[in-house]
């Protein structure tokens, strides 16, 4: 009963002072808008990246040579990881289903006729397709023989094709990669982009060929490997570490001269980025809520003063302190929910605008973010509405009725 009457009065008051109400809640609007937008975008990226990493397989691992930091690192000899290591891993690690060297070159020149473009190159093995989940759409993948016999063949990503202004008929033709002739045998299926980087701007060649072209990479090979299943990942990791340490003759006190990362660890690393983004968000939201809350408190104090006689009258006709308290709290919460509503609307709009960017990942506003937006705004209303409501409730009815 009283609740209905309170809500009614609150709506009337807010509506009667439209401009004042809207100006009052700007702080809350900013808080809720940023919550909705940032949460949605971070969620979008997290979802995309974790899908991407999941797509690589939960049992995938990456290994690369790296000199450890500090004094211990400086005292190590040459830091290497070569083909004999790869063969040893392949032969001795029982938990590994497959393993592929990965020789990345971030920038190579590709020429087709007179067109010359720059792209990135990866020297890989035949197993690489399966490990990285890079299916070939047109043509064929690498065969073991291609790698073993160092066939000068390549597989192109879709973006490279676009840059070369060529179609699927490029398969079977020859182009130049860093001045060497390669025959195109396949085209990869489209992968899209992550954080604005196209995953299709890529040329694959057999790693054996890459090692011939770029001799420096022979002793500095990166690897991707895959355990038989997820449960075996920790054991696989242990096997790799133990084998490589043994082969590199590292003493017990010496640190690893290589790095090994599992898909799980990459996911954790990425999650820590989104936690950082969330922390920044929390700062913005906290400050705007404080500003918004003080705005609400201020306008409610003004409202209490303006309506002192009304409060006196209400008390004269039987309103108890808690009735008046509730009425003004309802009004403060109504105001803040107005801010929350506007913020949610604006958040949706901003998210929609952000999604228009062509390289943006799919962004959806999660329902819990909307609930959170309304929750924090209602909470602000309660916290900052208490003081004005108390002031109203404690007014002496005689003085209130005599108030000019």
């Amino acid at each position: 009963m009283l609740i209905f009457a309170n809500v009614n009065t609150a709506i009337e008051q807010i509506w009667a002072n439209k401009l004042r109400s809207v100006l009052t809640v700007v702080g809350i609007v900013i808080a809720v808008t940023s919550t909705i937008t940032v949460v949605s975008v971070v969620q979008g990226f997290t979802g995309y990246v974790s899908d991407f990493l999941q797509g690589l397989g939960t049992n995938a691992m990456w290994i690369w040579p790296e000199r450890p930091g500090g004094e211990a690192g400086k005292r190590l000899g040459r830091v290497t990881l070569d083909l004999r290591d790869v063969e040893a891993l392949r032969a001795e690690c029982s938990t590994l289903r497959s393993i592929s060297p990965l020789i990345p070159r971030p920038s190579v020149a590709v020429a087709l006729g007179r067109t010359e473009i720059t792209t990135q190159l990866e020297g890989v093995s035949a197993e690489y397709h399966a490990i990285r989940n890079l299916p070939v759409e047109v043509g064929r993948p690498f065969a073991f023989l291609d790698v073993e016999r160092r066939h000068p063949i390549c597989i192109l990503g879709r973006e490279v094709l676009r840059k070369l202004d060529a179609g699927d008929d490029l398969v079977g033709r020859t182009l130049l990669v860093d001045g060497r002739r390669f025959r195109v045998v396949g085209i990869l299926a489209e992968k899209g982009s992550v954080l604005g980087n196209s995953l299709d701007d890529l040329v694959l060649i057999p790693y054996t060929v890459a090692m011939t072209m770029y001799p420096a990479t022979r002793t500095s090979i990166a690897l991707t490997a895959r355990a038989f299943d997820e449960e075996q990942v920790p054991e696989a990791k242990a096997q790799i570490v133990s084998l490589l340490r043994r082969r590199h003759r590292l003493e017990a006190y010496q640190p690893n001269d290589f790095q090994i990362r599992t898909q799980d660890e990459l996911l954790t690393a990425f999650n820590s980025i989104s936690i950082a983004a969330t922390a920044v968000l929390a700062g913005i939201v906290g400050i705007s809520l404080l500003v918004g809350g003080i705005g609400i408190m201020n306008v409610m104090l003004v409202s209490v003063t303006e309506r002192t006689r009304e409060i006196g009258l209400r008390k004269a006709v039987g309103a108890r302190r808690r009735d008046i308290m509730l009425q003004f709290l309802t009004e403060a919460v109504g105001l803040s929910l107005l801010g929350g509503g506007l913020g949610v609307g604006l958040g949706y709009a901003l998210t929609a605008i952000v999604s228009l960017h062509p390289q943006m990942v799919d962004v959806a506003v999660p329902l819990w973010a909307v609930a959170l937006g309304f929750g924090i705004s209602a909470g602000t209303g309660v916290v900052f509405g208490i003081l004005p409501a108390l002031k109203a409730a404690l007014l002496n009815p005689i003085d209130a009725l005599r108030h000019e």
């Binding site: 009337e12 009258l313 209400r314 004269a316 006709v317 039987g318 808690r322």
Partner: protein, 251 residues
């Protein structure tokens, strides 16, 4: 002063009879003005029975307003006893005071005190909101009919004349079927003709059995009442049960 009190101190209600609407015994009220104590009321005894129509008069500073505030449960006496419709109300808690005030007393103010954005009907419903009555609309319509405003229910205060506004305020006072209507200078903001109409309405309500206490400083308004209580310096100066004009009024 009440010369002879028919009721024992601890049992204000006589068995078999309806209790007096108001029974005040030795009510005092002292304020602290800076360091000086001011006695606004200095031992007031007053008994008002059901269906009385009483004017309380007195110059400013006589304690008239203080007495009205105490009778209206807007204030508590410093000492003394107060029974309202048989219930000891001198030392109620804040929320009980509000409850009793809402149920037993209907206020009518000089400046009407209507909520400007609400219709007459909603204004009249207001006391029922706080007492949790369910059929608010019916009761409010009934009260507006009693004051002759059944056709103005949807109007806002700014669409009505002063007299109509005061009628809405009286309907609001009536809607709880209070033991007592407490009117503080109800005609102070109205012209003579409209004042007459409002007083006619009070007469009418009185004839139907309503107990009314009217606070005023105008003798010709007080003349319309059946009994006039005069205050001076916080005491009852005179209590004339036959009206100011020497008992010519018929009941």
């Amino acid at each position: 002063m009440i010369a002879d009190d028919p009721l024992p101190l601890d049992t204000p209600a006589t068995v078999g009879e309806s209790p007096p609407v108001i029974l005040l015994r030795q009510i005092t009220k002292t304020y602290l003005m800076g360091t000086e104590k001011v006695r606004a009321l200095d031992g007031v005894d007053l008994r008002i029975d059901a269906n009385e129509f009483v004017a309380i008069m007195g110059p400013s500073g006589s304690g008239k307003s203080t007495l009205m505030n105490i009778v209206g449960l807007l204030d508590v006496p410093t000492s003394g006893q107060y029974w309202l419709a048989g219930r000891d109300v001198a030392r109620l808690s804040q929320s009980e005071q509000a409850r009793e005030r809402g149920r037993r007393i209907g206020f009518v103010f000089q400046t009407f005190e209507l909520l400007p954005r609400q219709t007459a009907l909603r204004n009249v419903e207001l006391p029922l909101v706080y007492s949790g009555v369910r059929d608010r609309r019916d009761r409010a319509v009934e009260a507006l009919r009693q004051v002759g405003l059944a056709d103005r229910m949807g109007h806002r205060p700014n669409q009505m004349s002063g007299g109509q506004r005061q009628r809405v305020a009286i309907a609001r006072a009536l809607v709880q079927r209070p033991a007592l209507i407490l009117a503080d200078e109800p005609t102070g903001n109205l012209d003579t003709r409209t004042s007459g109409e409002i007083l006619d309405l009070f007469d009418d309500l009185h004839a139907k059995g309503q107990t009314i206490v009217l606070v005023t400083h105008e003798p010709d308004i007080a003349a319309r009442c059946r009994r006039v209580v005069r205050l001076r310096d916080g005491r009852v100066e005179s209590d004339d049960p036959s009206g100011p004009d020497g008992g010519t009024v018929s009941c």
